[in-house]
């Protein structure tokens, strides 16, 4: 228990900040600057049954107040995760979440089962929303029925708390949220990146090797807040909000929209030294409120 602890459904976090999948590697890349236990939770890079090489470069490009990435889920596969990365995190005072990717339901179930067995993870997050994989991946996240079926299947093979991560690239995100809740998701995380692209005018060609990429960073925050707001009204499970958060004010905005904890990704790249400052400000906020509860969903009281 600390002065900043939050509950995220079955998970207890010592603070509401979560390092999100794909932006914090396996926890140690920032060395002493950002050790894993800085955060309430960390989500590891998306993991598949087998190693994936990822997409050809260029894989990242800056955009106005944001960035596109087309990493393509480069990862060493679940065996290396279990053998190398999870054991290394064993002693850390941080909730460890494994992000799972796959091309088929079987893929997801394989990784989920293996991670549950090998130990070291506190929860599983299903990435049904990555725009960077051509086969499978995306469609799970855009069709309520497929999203529900996948959730139900993974639910059966793992007793770990189950997070499902939603894509904003849909007509009705609340519908997908309701579907995965009814199939057993304990927590919903959102949003993954917006599908986008950039063009190199000198070369007359797409800037990313993979043509399309996922847009993240401050630019997408208004879309992310709207998605959190909509999903908060549609489901009763707790939400892990993310998308462009970088300051303490942003974190509180996500909470007021309905998030119980808040992820940061791109902000770590832009200002890795901002995390400590954010925690400091959150501490001040709690003291100044003199309240015990975080303001989760608070803005809905005035927003009707």
């Amino acid at each position: 228990m600390t002065d900043l602890d939050v509950s995220l459904g079955p998970l207890q976090l010592k603070n509401p900040l979560v390092a999100v999948s794909g932006t914090f590697g396996y926890g140690y890349d920032y060395g002493e600057l950002l050790p894993p236990d800085t955060f309430g939770a960390i989500v590891l890079k998306g993991t598949a049954p087998e190693p994936w090489p990822g997409n050809p470069p260029p894989r990242v490009v800056e955009t106005p107040s944001g960035m596109l990435n087309s990493i393509g889920l480069q990862n060493p596969g679940v065996d290396e995760l279990c053998d190398e990365y999870l054991p290394r995190l064993a002693g850390e005072d941080v909730v460890v979440i494994v992000n799972v990717v796959g091309r088929t339901v079987k893929d997801y179930c394989h990784v989920a089962r293996r991670v549950s067995e090998c130990g070291g993870a506190d929860a599983i997050e299903l990435n049904i929303s990555c725009p960077n994989v051509k086969a499978g991946g995306m469609s799970f996240g855009t069709d309520p029925q497929q999203a529900a079926d996948l959730t139900a299947s993974v639910r059966e093979v793992s007793d770990l708390p189950l997070i499902v991560k939603l894509t904003p690239n849909v007509t009705d995100i609340a519908e997908i949220a309701a579907a995965v809740q009814s199939s057993g998701a304990d927590i919903i995380s959102l949003i993954n990146t917006l599908l986008g692209m950039e063009i190199d005018v000198e070369q007359a060609s797409p800037r990313l090797g993979a043509v399309f990429g996922g847009l993240s960073g401050p630019a997408i925050r208004p879309v992310a807040l709207r998605c959190v707001w909509e999903v908060y009204r549609a489901v009763s499970v707790p939400l892990l909000g993310m998308g462009g958060a970088s300051t303490a004010r942003d974190v509180l905005a996500f909470m007021m929209a309905g998030a119980s904890a808040v992820g940061m990704g791109t902000a770590l790249f832009a200002q890795p030294d901002g995390v400590q400052e954010t925690l400091q400000q959150l501490r001040k906020f709690r003291q100044s409120c003199g309240e015990f509860d975080w303001p989760v969903g608070r803005a809905h009281e005035k927003g009707d």
Partner: protein
Amino acid sequence: MLDGAEAASELSVFGATVRESSAEGDCRRLTLAVQQEVAVVPGQFLGVRVSNAESSDPLLMRPLSVADWLGEDRLLQLIVKPVGRGTRYLCRLQPGATIDCLGPLGNGFPLHKLQKGKAAWIVGGGIGMAPLLYLARVLAEKDMPPVTFLGAAGERQFFALEEFSSYSTSLHLATDDGSAGFKGVVTQLVRQHLELAGRPGVMYCCGPDGMLLQLAEISQGQKWTAYGSLEEYMACGVGACLGCAVPAASGGGYLQVCSDGPVFNLREVLLHD
């Protein structure tokens, strides 16, 4: 990936104050005063923030090589070529301005093979000369002054020639337009000298991919070891995002320029023109 680079200090974000900004050909040389020790070795780089803290555009730090580190005075030097808004922002900075830097980043040039008494050559093209300046000084101080080859579009694109010259046993220039030194590409110059060279040595290179590709071929033919510092778009700079991928020469996967490099043995990576 490469061993032999000397130990660098822990990663941190540190403020730096512009002490001096001076023209170097088309580029600017920024001399930055820092508060703490930044134990950075030649070939390492920094992530430099190019907007004030209240703006999120431009968002990402810009990777810039350390062109010199004067540890005693705690002065860092960068040589910046204004190619876009971030580098233009830096080139506009006046003495007294402060910037935030993340570093030291990357591995640095490996020097261990040199102890065996091999020849050390330096080959730089364009803005790729920046990290080699620091390297040249360190080699000279270690009593292994390099033979240095520098190429540029024209005379105005060179910088720090006197320094390079003072650190090197000999300095060879090539320009596309013939305005200084050999008229042609620097790789041609290197090829000519290599054919005359005796036993194999070590080549430290930085410049456009096309140049590195040719140097990889040339050096391999002569059994030289060639280390090249690569460029790729970056987001985190520390190996966390997997954004800065370069295809590995074997295995079908990718290496990360920021954390496996930026310096690679050129046999390990697949370059394209």
